[in-house]
């Protein structure tokens, strides 16, 4: 195995998303503060941490989904291949076409399975062979065998796990560079979860993946890099403010973390 210093220099050359001193607030309340994090390309990066530590908030900041939340504002900058996602002339639609998202609850469109995939591709101006794209996307998301015979049936006719993989296929179909997953398995049973994790191993060959998860075993299984977030009460503030405790290779985070809080959390000794 190569030394970790070599790996980190290789990684620093190939940063996909760079979060730089980012503070995200809802109204006057700061949800997460002063986050620095460089997400490497072609890897799976996991965000772990207790509820309310702001990991989902940070994830949504990566493709400007926070824009949809009233009163949400961001300080600092998020660089995507060197471009500032929060620059004054940035079109959030352009951002989301390059950085796709899979949500906690499977949310297929009330359309046929085929149309679920074709919708995103079509509005993104895809002009190639649609049948081929649908098949390829469904295969990549490992759900092709289960729905190849019912492409014209509603997306709701699938089980929860299949729906979630359909949503992943839908995101793949727009050919983004990055796929963000916000607790994609929290609504699923262990078998579906396993299938999605296997899917992710395949996907990281072609995409950069960022996943938020409450399940530490999942983080250990799927991710190359792990960021541990925590929240602490601040003086004079109402509620807790989230912050990034530690960001490192998953192995390091779980085996020899540099922070005591990380050690406590990953070993289950967390207040």
């Amino acid at each position: 195995m190569t030394s970790s210093s070599q790996q980190s220099t290789a990684a620093s050359k190939d940063i996909c998303l760079s979060i730089q001193n980012t503070t995200i607030s809802y109204g006057s309340y700061e949800a997460v503060k002063n986050v620095y994090c460089d997400i490497p390309r072609g890897k799976v990066t996991a965000f772990i941490g207790p509820s309310g530590c702001g990991k989902s908030t940070v994830l949504r900041a990566l493709n400007r989904m926070n824009d949809l939340i009233e009163g949400c504002s961001l300080k600092g900058s998020v660089l995507f291949d060197g471009a500032d996602l929060y620059g004054p002339s940035v079109d959030p639609v352009e951002v989301r076409r390059r950085i796709g998202m899979v949500f906690q609850q499977p949310n297929p469109f009330p359309k046929s399975i085929y149309e679920n995939i074709a919708f995103g591709a079509r509005i993104n101006g895809y002009s190639g062979n649609m049948d081929e794209l649908v098949e390829r996307s469904l295969r990549q998301a490992a759900v092709w065998d289960e729905c190849k015979d019912k492409l014209n049936e509603s997306g709701y006719s699938l089980s929860g796990g299949q729906q979630q993989r359909l949503c992943i296929a839908r995101t793949i179909a727009i050919q983004p560079e990055v796929i963000l997953m916000d607790e994609p398995c929290s609504a699923l049973d262990p078998i579906s979860t396993l299938k999605i994790e296997e899917t992710m191993h395949e996907l990281k060959k072609s995409f950069t993946i960022v996943i938020v998860t409450h399940n530490m075993q999942q983080a250990l299984r799927v991710s190359d890099m792990t960021a541990f977030f925590n929240a602490e009460a601040v003086e004079g503030g109402s509620g807790k403010v989230g912050y990034l405790v530690e960001f490192n290779e998953t192995e390091m985070i779980f085996n020899s973390p540099s922070q005591q809080a990380t050690q406590d959390y990953v070993s289950g000794r967390f207040g």
């Binding site: 639609v93 989301r96 998202m101 899979v102 609850q105 949310n107 727009i174």
Partner: protein, 301 residues
Amino acid sequence: MAISPTASLRRDIPDLSYKQGLRRNLLNKILTFLVGLFSLIAVLPLVAVLAYVLIKGGSVLNLTLFTAASTGLEGGGIGNAVIGTIIVTFLSALIAIPVGVGGGIFLAEYSGGGVFANFIRFGTNVMAGVPSIIAGVFVYAVIVKTKIIFGNSYSAIAGGVALSILMLPTVIKTTDEGLKLVPDDLRRAALGVGASKFVTILRITLPSAFTPIATGVVLSIARAAGETAPLIFTALFSPFWPEGFDAFFNPIATLSVLIYNFATLPYESQNELAWAASFVLVLFILLINLFARWLRRFAST
């Protein structure tokens, strides 16, 4: 040892039977009877009106009614009024549906619940309660009296505008509420695959809310079709068939105004026409309501 520990707690078999004479049971019966009676009284007018109109109107029904116009005092038909009602209602829908659905989309999707949006919501609620004759007077003053439509005073278009004012609040409200029912998950899903807000609304949100919106629109059409007051001094009346393109710019007969005009005339044949028109109008509105119900069921499957 042979005696179980609960044996000492055992008593005689309890009397659980229903007792007629008990105060609470008596009160229960009386109140049930009372509310049943009141609900019966409440639907009585509906049944009575429907039955009366259907019997009175049905007895004078024949085919020439629909093939003749209400010209002259002897005989005639209500064919022109049937066509007129359809034309005026169609015109009002043509105005109210795009404006109302557009306004509803703005309220639900774009406004973000600001002061302006709340002002519009309040305005629509007030407008829904405005007496229909006020809408008629307003259109009379703005369109009929000023002869703003190519120098024509009373016209089908003026009638359509008056009815559309009545339809608007319902259409705006049902669109607004229908869109609010669409789960945010769907909007996020569409935005997450790079759809713009416009595409999201047009292709995902609006189709998902189609049924409540369509139901609201259909019901508002049913309401507009039966209105009389706003039409009396906008569309006025005409004993002749609406002809070609001119029909839009000239006074036009409608079922409701025909009833208003003919029901109190001292001529037997006119009175019969009024009853026939009542019959047709009631049936018309009944059918539209059934259509709305069907739409609702159609979507739930």
